[in-house]
Structure formats: C-alpha cells, structure tokens
Amino acid sequence: MEKTIKQWLSRMKQQLGNKVRSMEQNSAQETVMLVEKTELPDVCYFLWHEKKGRLFTMVGNDERDIHGFFALYYVFSFDSFRHFITVKTLIDPLDPTFPSVAVQLPAANWYEREVKDLLGLRPQGHPDPRPLILHGDWPEDLHPLRKDFPLDRHAPRVQSREAFMPYDSEDVTEIPVGPIHAGIIEPGHFRFGAVGDTILHLDARLFFTHRGLEKASEGMPLEKALFLAERTCGVCALSHSTAFAQAVERLGEVTIPPRAAYLRTLFLELERLYNHIGDVGNVCAGFGFAVGVSQGARLKETLQQLNERVAGHRYLRGVVRLGGVRIDITEREKEEIAQTLAYVKKEFQELVDLLFSHDIAMNRMATTGVLSLEHANQLEVVGVAARASGRSVDIRRDQPYAAYDQVSFHVPVYEVGDVLSRVRIRVDEVLESIAIIEQLLHSLPSGDTFTPLPPLPPYRSAMGWCESPRGETVHWLMVGPDQTIYRYRIRSATYSNWPAVPLAVKGNIVPDFPLINKSFELCYACCDR
C-alpha cells in the first residue's frame, strides 16, 4: 500500500509537470502540493475530475505574520488510497485575488464565497458573487478573519447588498418565508419562485446567526477550544468534539488507547441513533402523521435518557477529552445500554413497519424531492443525502478513525434520491448502529482511557474528521507557537449539503418543501459557526 501511494503520487507529479512547485508529506495521510495561484483551477480540476478526488474541505488562512502571504488550502480526499492531497497556494496581500475554482468545480462555490467574506480574498470569475457568511449589510471592506481585525471590533451596518433571483414573468409568484418561522427552528430565509404551487427556483439565505466561533477560537488554549468545538451544534456535539480532538491528536502524533477509541465509537453511534430515530419521527410531521411523530419523539427521549445516565449529558457533551475520553463505562452500564437498545430496536421496528405500510405516507415520501446522483457528485454531498442518491461515501469506512476499523458494518446505499430513500437510509443505519454497539460492547478492551499530549508543532496543519449523523464533518487545525489555536476551520456536513436542497426541491410543490427539508435534516448552527 505504502509503495503504491508513492508510485501514484510520483505519477501524479509527472502528469502535473511544472504546475506543481513542490510536493511534500505533511503527515502519513496527507500530501501538500504547493502551486502558483494561476495554476490553482487546473490542478484542482485535475485532482477532482481526472483523479476522482473528493473536495474534502477548503480553508483560507491569514499567514501574513508567518511569511507575509495569505494561504488557501483545497483538500481532496482519495478514499481508495486513504490519502489526502492538499493543494496550497500563497496569495500576495497586495493583490488579494485568485482565479475561482468554482467555475469548474461547483462544490467550491460556498468555500470561495466564505473566503471572500471573511478574509477578503476575491475569487475571480466566481459564478455567484453575492455575500454568503456575512450578510449584505456588513461593510464590504471589513474582513473579520484577518489577524488585524480585533475580536471586539464593532462593525457599522451599511445599505444592504442582498440580492435574490429576479423573475421577469408575471406568472411567477415570489414567496418569501422566514427567517422567523412558526415552529421552534433556527433562522433561515427561503425565497421561492413558484408558478402556482410548483417550485421553479429556491433561494436559501442562511448564516443569520454567524457566531464567529473560528475567530473566537484563535489564541484559545486547546483544552478550552474543545468546549467551543463541542458547542458548534447541539445535535452533533459529540461529532464536533471528536473531530477536533482527532485533529489535535493527529498534530501531536499520538494514538489514543484502544479503550478510548472503542468508547468514542460507542458514543458516536449513540449520537447517530438518537438523531436518526428522531429524524424518522420528524419526517412524519411533514405529512401530518402524528403517530409517527410521537413514537419517534418517545424513542429519541428514551435514548437521550440513556445518554444522560451513561455519559451524564443528554446531548453527549463532555465525553471526549484531548487524547482520549473523559467518561468510562462500568459493566452495569454496558448491561443497561444493551437492554435499552434491545427495547428501542423492537419499538423502532414497529414504527418502521407502520410507516412503510402506510399508503399515504409512502405516497408522500416516494418521488418527492429527488436529488440526482449527478448533482450529488458535483456538489460533493455527504452523509445520508449522498447515500440516498447512490453516492457511496461514509468516512467511517473510507478513512476509519476511532475503532471503526475494528467493527464490521454495512453502508446502505439507495439509488433513487427521494425523501423515501433518505428515510430508508436512516432506518438501515439505525439497525447498523445497534449492531456496531453490540460488537463494541462485546469486545470492549480494558486499559487507559487517555494518553497525555506532547507539545504540538507550531504552524503545521492537521485535520480531524468524523461521520456525524448528518454526514462527514471535517475540522482543520493549525496551532500557533504558544500552544494556542492559530487557525481553526469547521466544515460540517450541513455546509456541504445545503447547496443541494434547492436542487432537490425544484419542480416539487410548495407544500412538499417542509417534508423535503426535513428529510435532509440539516442544522443551521453547524453553518453558523
């Protein structure tokens, strides 16, 4: 394997020729290619299109006080080699522009707009120049992620530059919805262009509660930043803290003890369980199937109470520590988990049988909100939404972490890409998760639950990743010289999947939108970092 990766990399270097200035190993799993910014689109397109790399994350960084330049990192994942290639380019502060990659690689769309908003690096030729993270009333020349922007600076509000799709025809009705909604949900503004009740186009305006977590983390000690990472999102708290801890551990090149790895896997699967079961129930609210809603809520509650008894927190906060886990479980708790899961499995099976034998429910879910495989691939959709559209990605299998290489599990894939497929994926994954937990409980090794961390090398980057209930989540981390965070970039599954929602609702009717949206089950907080 080691040899084939070397051969593959040197062949790639040959093919790219002098487009690559240098190529070096950042870690065992990551190779960094330094390119001129003019070559950036070509190299990225080559890696994505020819070599079939997935755009994993993209990070912009203000490194002017290290070497005088801004830096951009486009990370591609090559699942078959279990290897990452990072395309790095340096940008002169006097000319803060770069040729847009998003022209050829649609998945880069949001990343480049984010870099433009937060760092003031302008992607030239970008198909969508509207602001993304900071809304239109934020001054255009203020870029909060630059190091010279003080954390406590107050930004004046200016005339809004927000723009939505204009419609020429009188037959098109514009329906603005939100950002405040009737239910208790996070803010998002949706603007439908509809002909009658059929949706022609959807503009989704998100990022209403941008918290500046990444900015706030800069200069923060790592132990404290773990708590910040955990608070990125309520329902994927553990996935975020695990991803962050893994980034730190990878940077320090420590391996966590086997017991800690098993426990992390166990709790991550418990997180997936309560999310997936709750989501299957919530989808029922999309068509007013009250029995499904209340049964889903009840089972979710059972699992969250289990979380509280075992880990001390309903949303599994505080489980992970840097270098291992903080919570160990006893034999009695193992027994309790096994018992609760047996009960939940039986009850969930009943709910699923009821749902899948309900004619109206099936009719509402089937053929609604289809996301095509082509769109899913172009936008690098991840998680449940990807697997429901026939795109087989699961970072637990593709780049195993924690103890996922110690258990056997099956990754369900459906081809259709409608609401029903996404629900089926969740149902299958619930059963897989229960099976994984059974294996873990059966072979839980004994030993320590954490390893102390060595001092971390400054100005080197590392990534941690995790398959959250919504899909893969990537945390990119660079530590400064005083063991505090220099740059921290959270790319959640939601961030990758939101751009796919408008494509899936196109051609459906307006009253089906809540159902489609629920089937993706994306959280807003994961984007509003």
């Binding site: 329906i175 009737a182 239910g183 009740d197 068509f287 009250a290 429910a361 089906d512 809540p514």
Partner: protein, 302 residues
C-alpha cells in the same frame, strides 16, 4: 331560536377540546385539558389586536362577518330539537351559501395584508372549495331526494318517520360521501392539518396567520362552530333518532353524546391517516361527488 344559537356558540369549543384530547390520547400524549379551547377563546378576547399597516377595513370587519354568518347558518340546522320558528326562511341551500359567504370573506381578507402565507392559503382554499362546495351540495341532495324537501327540519322529520334503510346502497353511499365532505370542510387530515406549524403546508390556518387578539379569537371560534354545525348536520341526516323525544333535555343529552362519538371518530381518522398531497385532495372530493351521484341515481331508480 336564541337558545339554539347560544347553545351552538357555547358548545363548539367543548367538542373541539374533546377531539383534541382524543387525538392526544391516541398518539400517546396526555394532551391539553378538554376546556382548553374555552381558555383560548377567553384569552384571545382579552388581548389587543395587532393589525398590519398594510391591511384595510376588511381585516377588522371580516371576523364579525364570518362569525355572524356561521352562527346564522346554525339557526337553520336542526340540532337537538325540531321546534324552530325560523324554518320558513332558510333551507339547505341557504346554509351552504352562508358557509360560502364566510369562506369568501376569509379568503379575501387573507390577501388583505399582503403576507405570502395568506395568499397561498386563500388560493388553495378557493381552489379546493370549488370542488368541496358542490360535493357538499350533492351529498345533501342525495339525502333530500328521499323526503322531497330542502327544509332541514322537515327533512329530518321525514327521515325519523320513514327512516333510512340501513342496508340500502344509496344510504351507505351518501353516508361516506358526506363523511368525506365533513372532514374536508372542517379542515382535518387527510385534507388539511389543523395542528401544523408548517406555514407552507397550511390551507385554512394559513389564512388566519395575520389575525391576532379578539379577531383571531373570533375566527377560531367561528371555525369551531362551523365544525359543530357540520357534525350536527351529519348526525341529524344519518342518525336522527331521539330528536323528537318527549323531553327536550333527554334529546339534548342524546345529541351531545352523538356529537362526542362523531368527534372521536374524526380524531380516530385523523390519527390513522396522514395528510395527502395537495393535488390529490380534488380527487378525494371528486370521489365524494361520485358517491353522491351514485346515491342519487340509485334513489331515482329505486
């Protein structure tokens, strides 16, 4: 007559409360108290109304028009007694059109403030009512044919005297046709979902979003009264036993018992079913129309 109007007004929230409670129990929830709709109405009446700057006089007038037209319709519908001195004025068609007036103003005012959900709600309501109204009329006609009168009390009298043949196909067909119409007109699953918070899926509730305070209270109360009236109509067309009882008190109790039973049936249907796709609702109402037509044909050829 006045007594009947008062009873209708006061009884309506109770039936709503019972339906909600039944639904909650069936869904494994405890649910609010059956008196909750009364508390809600009282709360709304005490509150100030907030009106949109864009709204016109319609927004103020509509709640009263709707409330009054629904209560007026209630005067012509037999409930627990047949002694009604206003018989000579109105018949089935008047009742349907009083409902129509209420619907018209509700839909018109939903457009008044210019909110997107109001517009969506009223366009859907009007599209559906274009089919729901004839379906209601046809279902009523299929019953009226048997007694050759359109006056409801006369109709009920002849029904109690001559009686329905429980096993007559026309009876069964008319029963199901009417049941579908009642569900659609009360805005219940599978046609509309009265409990949803998803504005984009709303039909009737969407039109009420702009109201607040006493105006909202009146609109909700009117909707509850309309529900009670439709249930009464259904009961007295298909289960009129006891309405001519010697003791008015006994027949009243019997009436309430029948209402509760029917309300629970609706709650049961609402729990068992899910909301169908919006564009399938016309098909459902169309099937009600066909059932009515078949009932009429059978009746004619019998």
């Amino acid at each position: 007559m006045v007594l009947q109007a008062v009873i209708i007004i006061l009884l309506a929230p109770f039936i709503q409360g019972v339906i909600k409670k039944t639904k909650a129990r069936m869904q494994n929830r405890i649910g609010p108290s059956i008196w909750q709709p009364y508390y809600d109405v009282i709360k709304f009446m005490k509150k100030d109304a907030v009106l949109s700057h864009h709204s016109s006089w319609l927004s103020i007038v509509t709640p009263y028009i709707v409330f009054v037209s629904i209560v007026t319709a209630g005067i012509f519908i037999p409930t627990y007694s047949l002694h009604n001195e206003w018989n000579f004025i109105g018949d089935v068609i008047l009742v349907v059109y009083l409902f129509g007036v209420a619907r018209f103003f509700t839909a018109l005012t939903a457009l008044d403030a210019g909110g997107s959900f109001g517009g969506m709600g009223s366009s859907r309501e009007m599209a559906l009512s274009a089919i729901a109204e004839p379906a209601l009329l046809l279902a009523l006609f299929s019953v009226c044919l048997s007694s050759e009168t359109m006056k409801l009390p006369h109709l009920v009298v002849s029904l109690t005297h001559n009686g329905w043949d429980w096993f007559a196909p026309s009876y069964v067909l008319a029963f199901f046709a009417m049941l579908i119409v009642v569900i659609a007109e009360t805005g219940r699953i599978p046609v509309d979902n009265p409990d949803t918070h998803l504005e984009l899926t709303m039909v009737h509730e969407g039109m009420l979003l702009e109201y607040s305070g006493r105006y909202l209270g009146l609109m909700m109360w009117a909707a509850q009264i309309k529900q009670l009236l439709l249930l009464s109509l259904f009961i007295n067309l298909f289960f009129p036993w006891g309405i001519e009882g010697e003791h008015i008190f006994v027949s009243f109790l019997l009436y309430v018992a029948k209402l509760l039973a029917l309300g629970m049936l609706l709650a049961f249907i609402e729990t068992m079913y899910a909301k169908i796709r919006l564009f399938k609702v016309p098909k459902l109402l169309g099937s009600s129309m066909i059932l009515s037509l078949m009932a009429i044909l059978l009746r004619v050829f019998e």
